[in-house]
């Protein structure tokens, strides 16, 4: 048999299995042994609340009443115009922006949005900076384009931005910054002050280097913010901002793959960005998100699922963790919490926790050693039972 022509780069990627996925598979397997209700599975960020009833109603109505050729026909390659107009209106109303439909490019979730945005504003050889802790898939979205992701070390004090380190790393080679607020995995929400400082620095460096520096803002958790916390709208702070959104979390439909890139109308070449995203899509055969889902979410843009359970869970966990002596920043949003492990090696720590059927994700792949992530998008009743396991785990080991 001759030489295989399978692409070696992709083949090699198979070796690097995601830690989160491995843990999630462990949890499922353990569940088959002892009943999944007894596994305290904090591994996956899968929404645990139903979609808004209105969404289901809208979809049924579309299926019952709309001509099927229109309903399921090709979406224009830049998205359905009426849907984009409605998204722009909703953003303008809620965040005081001035988007038109042309600034909105529908994508398959925030993953698709970030991957498009990166391709749009970088070229091979450019650097993209992100801030630890960060979502590990960013490595792929950036590095597979020929650009290079570099990680600014975490501000572990409160998981805002380590501005000093950022200024050091923000060299002339940097084409874009990729931020994520509210943050997966820390749950931190960047404050207005953080965003103002970031914007000032970027504006200064743009002048100094004589080229644009784009801010790619990954915002799938924008709508999951807890009582008294304010989540400022990133694009208001900096003109060269591409906002990447997903309806996966706010409407609990991660499987339906719908989100968008919203281009700040004052950003460089704003009138071209959506069209360029369309070209990127062509090349990867990706095209638009599903037509029926575009049409359906357009009718519930100002709604969310009932997400109060995430705050309830957060308060339970934060209370217990701090009383057990964990060093932990209180999350302002998302459904993640990111405490410091009780020993240096987070992987060892999480291994020990597994004996108590506590499935925690060690922080190494998020770019910070010594922490762990809990995704508390699970039933509150289960969170409550997990507290006992957590107590036993800590008392018997530390």
């Amino acid at each position: 048999m001759g030489k295989s022509m399978i692409n070696e780069q992709y083949k090699k990627m198979l070796e690097g299995k995601s830690v989160i996925r491995q843990l999630s598979e462990f949890a499922a397997e353990r569940g088959r042994e002892i009943g999944y209700e007894n596994v305290f599975d904090y591994s996956l960020g899968n929404p645990s609340v139903p979609v808004p009833e209105k969404l289901t109603e809208v979809m049924i109505e579309l299926l019952k009443t709309k001509n099927s050729m229109e309903l399921h026909g090709y979406s224009p390659s830049l998205g359905i115009a009426s849907v984009k107009d409605k998204i722009a209106d909703s953003l303008n109303r809620r965040f005081g922006m001035d988007y038109t439909g042309n600034h909105i490019f529908p994508t398959t979730g925030a993953a698709g949005a970030v991957a498009h945005a990166v391709r749009c504003v970088t070229s091979p050889g450019d650097e993209v900076l992100t801030f630890a802790p960060y979502f590990p898939e960013y490595n792929l979205y950036v590095n597979m384009t020929g650009a290079q992701l570099k990680v600014v070390p975490a501000d572990t004090e409160n998981f805002q931005i380590n501005l000093e380190k950022l200024e050091e790393m923000l060299t002339e080679k940097v084409a874009a910054l990729l931020i994520n607020t509210p943050n997966n995995p820390s749950g931190a929400v960047y404050s207005s002050e953080t965003l103002k400082e970031l914007s000032d620095l970027l504006n200064k460096k743009q002048k100094e280097y004589g080229h644009d520096i784009f801010l790619i803002s990954d915002e799938p958790y924008r709508e999951i913010v807890f009582d008294k916390v304010e989540a400022p709208y990133v694009s208001k702070f900096y003109d060269n901002t591409l906002s990447c959104y997903s309806f996966s979390k706010s409407l609990s439909l991660p499987g339906e793959r719908i989100g968008y890139v919203a281009t700040n109308p004052r950003c460089r070449d704003a009138e071209l960005i959506s069209a360029i995203c369309g070209q990127i899509s062509r090349g990867i055969g990706h095209n638009c998100p599903p037509s029926i889902i575009q049409l359906a979410v357009a009718e519930v843009l100002d709604q969310t699922s009932d997400m109060s359970v995430y705050e309830t869970n957060m308060n339970l966990l934060y209370g217990e963790l701090t009383s057990l002596g964990f060093d932990c920043v209180k999350p302002g949003g998302t459904f993640y919490i990111f405490p410091k492990a009780l020993e240096e090696d987070a992987t060892v720590f999480c291994q020990k926790a597994l004996k108590y059927d506590l499935v925690l994700v060690p922080s190494d792949s998020f770019g910070v050693p010594g922490y762990f992530r809990m995704a508390y998008c699970i039933d509150t009743e289960k969170v409550e039972r997990s507290l006992l396991a957590l107590r036993r785990f800590v008392k018997e080991n530390y």
Copy 2:
């Protein structure tokens, strides 16, 4: 203002506007002047028949009865297992194959399937061969990976494969062939004889060069085949085959973006191909097709829309075109016909036709000069009226 960091490669792509899209826009505009019913718009391959009723029923049933978190939750990154099993079963039953669910990788239509398949079995610098006439988007699916698409000249006799030219061009640099049968734009269906000859040549060359040569078979029109024509299942002829399918045409839902790559179980590294496709998806943030659509099509795998109108239209057009003296290969399937223009420059020919409100697509972008494509996925009543215009156009100009 400093230098723009917008990716120049993608920006440049904006200049090359699709001829088909331009013509389709012209048709829409003309429709606003004289009523769209009076524009004989043969530009776009958009299915013109409803989805099967069962599909709508299944979707409504899913929405009404299934837990919304399960229904709309994350699809596993390689697709929903039960869906893949059902697709494998259907293919095995209909085509005598022996796929398992693991050989099926769900994608966003055939575009996604081909783009994944190309990335999977080629590396930058490799060549991919296709056969004129061909779907112009192939240029993007291949060339944007760093591999290079080369076009084997057409067999204009009957739009099968020009084997002599193929053998000349099938050098050691070729990693894959990309074929499309039933063919857009010619409507030709590759015969068993053609596929056998192709397979023999590829097997010979694999041995000679000591490396695999993959056959990427783009089959979105597989189910649209006319009376007495047989469409052989390509993968039965050659082990190293990746079959790329879309439900867009057979179920009339091009907007919902669903298709798959089916890997021949005997192909090289067959057990890895789906997993590698999953890695490719990760990198482009593309992930799976929508969950509800995966689940819905799985219930209607052996059905199609009522597509008899396409054959009716084909016969009307073929009869009229040949009686008007056009040189024309009779389509065996699809909803395209590809006659020779009545003058050398097909673009000039199609420009003249526009004066009769006949919107025809010149063949140049399909890699063959001097022909034109008609997409007859329109109402038969309109086809009938268009015949008069066609007659006038020919009599007054040629």
